[in-house]
């Protein structure tokens, strides 16, 4: 810290103090950044994480089979297993954090998680806030109704109520599919399904794989429109902006995930049917 020649006036003194504090602050930050990256490097993966040696991954544990809590209350599901594979690939310990759909972007922005693995649709809106890896999965959106419903096609949704997840993309998808449908927004996918099963809503629209599992488990529900509600969408892993190292490593992971066939295997484990859209033909950039 350079010695500053302080003249008599108070203003100058204040400016001097401010300048020296700024200088000290900058140096301290530089030191700590260097320290953090040193710790990160020691993990052999070369990526900086919030907690050195551990990767904190957010998954939505209220959306089976993407994310759920098993009978002992531990995280499980497709996205959680994907997180486990990521941690293994990066040679880091895994810490799973439960996030709601609406909290996915905020938790990345506030640095509460290193990445999001939670059926995360890639949209231009979200790309302004965070970064995505190359797609992990392709999906469509489906329409699910009770077995005895009179709804047989998207056009039957005129004036009918459709329950959707507030924090997801289902709202705009529904309106695009049938502007005359009445939207009911809920805090989670499970709440939307509850609305359907309790008769509060006539239909649910969400991503095809999610609905397929729900319909398979609940004989009172069935899928009317498999994957055709709106255009094809892609899921990706979400990371905060300005993390090029992490993004690069994750893209490498996704590439080998597809190349090794691990994607189909993991899908079969959790969904027990072939995905609506295959894993081939996914864009690789």
């Amino acid at each position: 810290m350079r010695r500053i020649n302080i003249a008599g006036s108070a203003k100058l003194r204040a400016a001097a103090i401010a300048a020296s504090l700024l200088a000290a602050g900058t140096m301290l930050t530089a030191c700590s950044e260097g320290g953090a990256s040193a710790a990160g490097n020691s993990s052999q993966s070369g990526v900086q994480t919030i907690v050195p040696g551990t990767i904190t991954i957010g998954s939505c544990l209220d959306q089976p089979p993407w994310g759920l809590k098993d009978s002992s209350g531990n995280p499980a599901g497709f996205d959680v297993d994907l997180a486990k594979q990521i941690a293994q690939y990066l040679n880091l310990k895994l810490e799973t954090v439960d996030v709601t759909a609406a909290a996915r972007v905020p938790s990345l922005q506030t640095g509460k998680v290193d990445l999001i693995s939670c059926s995360f649709t890639i949209t231009p809106e979200r790309k302004q806030q965070i970064d995505f890896t190359i797609p992990t999965l392709a999906s469509g959106n489906s329409l699910m109704v009770p077995q005895d419903s009179s709804i047989k096609a998207l056009s039957d949704l005129d004036g009918k109520t459709v329950a959707v997840n507030k924090g997801g993309t289902a709202g705009p998808v529904t309106t695009a599919a049938n502007p005359k449908a009445k939207l009911q927004y809920y805090e989670s996918y499970s709440a939307a399904v509850l609305a359907l099963t309790s008769g509060q809503a006539d239909a649910v629209i969400d991503t095809s794989n999610t609905l397929a599992v729900t319909a398979a488990e609940n004989p009172k529900l069935h899928i009317v429109n498999d994957g055709d509600v709106g255009p094809k969408v892609y899921f990706g892993l979400g990371v905060p902006k300005n993390k090029p190292e992490l993004l690069k490593k994750l893209n490498e992971f996704v590439q080998q995930f597809h190349a090794s066939g691990g994607d189909t295997k993991l899908f079969q484990t959790w969904f027990k049917f072939t995905p609506t859209y295959q894993f081939k033909d996914l864009p690789t950039s």
């Binding site: 209220d62 089976p64 809590k69 209350g73 439960d98 996030v99 709601t100 609406a102 909290a103 972007v105 905020p106 938790s107 922005q109 506030t110 640095g111 509460k112 805090e187 989670s188 499970s190 709440a191 399904v193 509850l194 099963t197 309790s198």
Partner: protein
């Protein structure tokens, strides 16, 4: 049919209960401290401070807690403030919200102390700090305690809003059970009973305090 499932999942409910308790205790402490400080600060009658505090009270008592929670949580994300967990966001919002109401309780408590008491204290030459600590405060507290406990009951119930942004409290655990096993009516009824068990003792205590400190 639903009752068996609820009983099987009692550990999850216990976990939710503990999370609720955690949030409750934290917020009771923080909001009481904040409310007290605000009430004392308002007595000091510093113009700029008084105005700021009045605005704070207006804003936080005139808007819903849920909106405040959403504002803090998503606002922190928007401003890229690091390290704001769901728990922290809810605690901050609830502290500010309950703190506003609690400061009004303390203020009314202060004003309920007869002016003569303060005048006598000044005449006796007590310092402002001692006046507050030894004369005003004990009398104000006796009066403030019952409505303060009433606030705490409201606080316990308000913690249920934390479930909306994903905090794993009683309500969220209940939703998880409904998710897997259905029976929303039974499950939410049980959740209600659990909150009742948590809150009713406060209710009884508050009423006892009311009777003990009554002058009418």
């Amino acid at each position: 049919m639903g009752w068996n499932d609820i009983w099987d999942n009692r550990q999850l409910l216990l976990l939710g209960f503990l999370f609720t308790l955690n949030l409750t205790v934290t917020t009771v402490i923080s909001s009481t401290i904040l409310g007290f400080l605000v009430a004392v600060a308002r007595r000091a009658r510093i113009p700029v401070l008084a105005q700021i505090l009045r605005t704070y009270l207006e804003v936080f008592r005139g808007s819903p807690l849920l909106v405040q929670i959403l504002f803090v949580y998503f606002g922190a994300a928007y401003l890229n403030i690091q390290g704001v967990s769901v728990f922290l966001a809810v605690t901050v919002a609830m502290t500010l919200y309950q703190g506003a109401y609690i400061s009004e309780i303390f203020r009314a408590g202060f004003e309920a102390v007869p002016k003569g008491q303060l005048e006598a204290a000044i005449t006796l030459g007590l310092s402002p700090f001692s006046r507050l600590k030894d004369v005003v405060l004990p009398q104000a507290m006796r009066v403030s305690l019952p409505p303060l406990f009433g606030q705490y009951i409201g606080l316990i119930k308000n913690t249920s809003l934390a479930s909306v942004i994903g905090y794993a409290d009683l309500v969220k655990q209940g939703q998880g059970i409904v998710d897997r096993f259905g029976s929303p009516f039974e499950v939410f009824l049980v959740i209600g009973v659990l909150y009742f068990i948590l809150s009713y003792p406060f209710s009884l205590t508050a009423r006892r305090l009311e009777r003990k400190t009554a002058t009418t």
